[in-house]
Symmetry: C2
Subunit: 201 residues, 2 copies
């Protein structure tokens, strides 16, 4: 979603130099393999790469280090909570019941491992029909809000299903960089602001 | 998506009895834990459960054994291809470029492990606006078709983003069981028919 990248280089003391885009430093498995090559990895290798990305990347001074994890409660999640002290976790879900079941499990895992849950993001929240402006709650309505209330954590935002957001990701320029003033851009800005306020309080 | 279930029982020789729904026998990690409890598992445990589900479930005579895997190319995928001889793999993707990148990697993994790719399913293909019938290609158009052509495998079907399908899953009755004659029901029936024909040829 940040476009094609060059391969990361290494520093003299063999640390990985992250890729820079839009004022952020990035590191991903995808940068180390070519586009068609899968990273077919068993758990112990996944653990090793996760630790390497945390400890052997030349991150320098950062405001925040954001880890975008795959769904689930497996090796990557366990390795992260056991390797670094996290300021908190954000759980992303879609509104329908079968997704909320998994979100609940993620929240339970973070509670069990003493990681603060900073809030829930409801993704694919609704679709605003471009022709008539009608809101379609394709994946149900209010699931994120109900779950956040039930768990006693903030609902950070409701991100709509949005063509511009998808196009922005596909072209390698996030919608907040491309169209920050748009309605969906403002959803992301508001979520970031709320998260920042929570972390600084 | 098959509704809440009772805990599976065991046979006298300690094999797991699968849950039955709609003429199918089912087994899932979700049946073994309560709804709020995450299965926090590292790779070796994931491997053990995967093997147990393949070998220690009292499946009896089946027409087909379908394994619904999480995204990725990790422990579960590797264990499956190394434990049983698969008739083939179906790769499910959404149409946008960032999803196709991962679908390509899944196909590459199956090629590498000598598993036949039976075809590609394009999920969340488009949204038919209920009020005006206009088709919105929210996640792009034709990505599944292009990828299938590029890889020389069949495109098995294009499953729309559909409220009835989501509702059916949330209430525990798949849309093919609930409304087989509907447009989306027919998409699933056609895909199953094409898969069956491929496997029997």
């Amino acid at each position: 979603m940040f476009g094609p990248t060059e391969q990361p280089t290494a520093t003299e003391d063999n640390r990985i130099v992250p890729i820079e885009r839009y004022g952020m430093k990035l590191m991903s498995m995808g940068f180390l393999t070519d586009a068609d090559t899968p990273a077919v990895l068993r758990g112990p290798m996944v653990t090793r790469y996760t630790q390497q990305f945390l400890r052997q990347v030349d991150w320098g001074d950062l405001d925040y280090l954001v880890l975008d994890l795959p769904p689930g409660t497996g090796d990557i999640q366990l390795t992260v909570v056991q390797t670094v002290a996290l300021a908190g976790a954000v759980v992303v879900t879609t509104p329908q019941e079968v997704a909320l079941i998994d979100a609940r499990k993620a929240v339970a895992m973070f509670h069990k491992t003493n990681v603060r849950v900073l809030g829930i993001v409801e993704n694919m929240s609704h679709f605003l029909c471009p022709s008539d402006g009608v809101r379609y709650d394709i994946f149900g309505s209010g699931g994120g809000r109900r779950e956040a209330d039930r768990l006693g954590v903030p609902l950070l935002g409701e991100v709509p299903i949005d063509v511009a957001t998808r196009e922005a990701g596909d072209t390698g320029m996030p919608v907040v960089a491309r169209a920050q003033e748009s309605a969906v851009g403002q959803v992301f800005v508001a979520m970031a602001g709320q998260l920042r306020a929570t972390l600084e309080s």
